[in-house]
């Protein structure tokens, strides 16, 4: 390897990771700042942590977000796993191209477009059927729809390297299809399903735009509360929220990569 080239690559890596992490680290550091100004260091203090603990609006918003994330992650996992199976296992069916498009589109579709269109759908449904009520149910429906795309991607790629002869072997040994699914397929794709769930949970917890459109006037989720607080100006309490979120995300990612890592380790013996 040429020395100049590896030095350049090393520099690219160092710069890239600095670029990614300096902002996050600075947010975390300033959550322990004593000063009211988020740009001036006034000494270490837990003042803003204490203040956040007393901020009931923010805590209520966080609890609502957690409830929404929990429910939508379950829904997205079920729907996304089914879609992943449909794409990986059903070679050809009528309308497959459209289906594949519908599954993948939420990943790139600008959220403002999805937000407007889903709100109009819910408004229409409300006029026609008197429901669902705008708030928790509509937020969950919206989150399930867009997070399912990510779950489908994860599950589909896991199924793509799944050795079908394992299922045939189980059948050959006397297992009926339902038993094959329970004893072979599910245990082997479980890591992908769980990491899909974690991803859906994080996406739901974080979503602002879709939520803002489909939430009724009553519901305020954590991102909505954070957003309106930021609009008022920089606020050290937001740094505390950010620190907590980063901590949770790190745990979720580590869990998820441990799961998928272990899964592949025992999967394909070469």
């Amino acid at each position: 390897m040429a020395g100049a080239r590896s030095r350049f690559l090393l520099a690219a890596l160092a710069f890239g990771y600095a670029f990614l992490y300096v902002p996050i680290v600075s947010v975390i550091v300033y959550s322990f700042n004593d000063s009211r100004l988020v740009t001036v260091w006034g000494g270490f203090s837990l003042r803003w942590w204490r203040e956040l603990a007393r901020n009931e609006a923010m805590i209520d918003a966080a609890l609502l977000s957690l409830r929404i994330a929990l429910v939508s992650a379950i829904g997205a996992t079920i729907l996304g796993t089914m879609a992943g199976f449909a794409l990986a296992r059903h070679g050809r069916f009528r309308g497959r191209a459209l289906f594949a498009g519908l599954v993948a589109a939420p990943m790139v579709m600008p959220e403002v477009i999805m937000g407007v269109s889903m709100l109009l759908l819910f408004v229409g449904l409300e006029r026609l059927f008197g429901g669902p009520e705008r708030g928790f149910p509509t937020i969950v429906l919206a989150h399930v729809t867009f997070a399912a795309a990510y779950v489908a991607l994860v599950v589909q790629s896991r199924l793509a390297d799944f050795d079908r002869s394992l299922e045939e072997a189980a059948m050959d040994l006397g297992a009926r299809p339902a038993t094959v699914f329970r004893t072979i397929t599910l245990p082997l794709i479980a890591p992908a399903v769980i990491s899909g769930w974690l991803l859906a949970f994080t996406l739901s917890l974080d979503d602002l735009i879709l939520t803002q459109f489909v939430a009724g006037p009553e519901s305020q989720t954590l991102p909505m509360a954070v957003y309106s607080s930021i609009r008022m100006g920089l606020n050290p309490q937001i740094n505390v929220v950010a620190t907590i979120v980063v901590g949770l995300a790190t745990v979720a990612l580590v869990l998820s990569s441990l799961l998928t890592g272990r899964g592949t380790g025992s999967h394909a013996p070469k």
Binding site: H90, G91, M109, I113, L234
Partner: protein, 288 residues
């Protein structure tokens, strides 16, 4: 090689396709149709919902003639394209370096790229608001290092938006690039070298063409959502920087003009139809 024997399991098989299909048709496809229909209506503030379906094309003629909207569309496309280019310039060396790193380090290096994606988007943008502000980290660094004694403030400029987009979407660029670069057979470069190519020439003639699918996928994954971005221009951009996502948001929430907002969305979708179709084709062709 042989398809699986379908043994009286058609019912379950059918449901696996039908349920998500129906769900996506109702909750994802149908709403676009509604948006398209409503975009031919007029605002009726005294009604609930505030829409009168009059079948007019006024919203569209307005969008095409009003300088504000035209420049918002053009501005969005320009900003998204420039940000995508910066993202590629920064992301390619990173992806290349990870792909060439010792195999045991790669998962950790990759996880470190993905981690910010798992943390809140809003908070990551918020972080830049602090860094780019008048007395923020960046200006502090510039003053301390003596690079600039009186740096202006970046917040509220188009540059702040570039920073935000590149930062927020970098993982989407790096991951597909890494996926193609990692698969690249090292012996191809050795063969190129053996046939007399310098490292630079080998990169240009072997590595780069073979990683092109990753480049295209990464660029689309950044460009498409960036065009409709709302949070970044809202929090980092200034009043003179118009992006269509923010215009739509304001039209909807501040002005309450649902039909015009629908027309803005429909036109945005039409603009993005080609890149989205390209992305779908790529996804369908992608070998796992």
């Amino acid at each position: 090689m042989n398809r699986h024997a379908g043994q009286s399991r058609e019912g379950a098989h059918w449901a696996v396709v039908a349920l998500p299909y129906a769900w996506l048709l109702v909750l994802f496809a149908l709403p676009f149709a509604i948006v398209a229909v409503i975009s031919f209506g007029e605002a009726a503030p005294d009604r609930a919902p505030p829409v009168a379906l009059t079948g007019t094309v006024r919203n569209y003629t307005f969008l095409f003639t009003d300088p504000l909207y035209v420049s918002a569309y053009l501005g969005s496309l320009r900003i998204a394209a420039i940000s995508t280019m910066f993202c590629l310039l920064l992301g390619y060396p990173i992806a290349y370096a990870i792909a060439r790193a010792p195999a045991r380090w790669r998962p950790a290096l990759l996880a470190a790229i993905v981690l910010p994606f798992w943390t809140s988007f809003l908070i990551r943008v918020y972080a830049w608001k602090g860094i780019l502000s008048e007395n923020g980290l960046l200006n502090g660094f510039l003053r301390w290092s003596g690079l600039a004694s009186d740096p202006g403030t970046l917040i509220g400029t188009e540059w702040a938006i570039y920073f935000g987009i590149v930062y927020a979407y970098l993982p989407f660029m790096v991951l597909p690039l890494y996926a193609t670069l990692e698969k690249l057979d090292g012996s191809l470069l050795e063969a190129a070298a053996d046939l007399g190519a310098t490292p630079a020439r080998a990169f240009l003639t072997v590595t780069l063409p073979l990683s092109l699918p990753g480049v295209v996928a990464g660029c689309l994954l950044v460009f498409i959502p960036a065009v409709g971005e709302f949070i970044i221009p809202d929090m980092l951009g200034g009043t003179e920087t118009l992006m269509i996502g923010k215009v739509l948001w304001d039209e909807f929430f501040a002005n309450g003009d649902w039909p015009l907002a629908s027309a803005v969305a429909t036109l945005m979708l039409a603009l993005l139809a080609v890149p989205i179709a390209l992305f779908q084709r790529l996804g369908a062709a992608r070998p796992h």
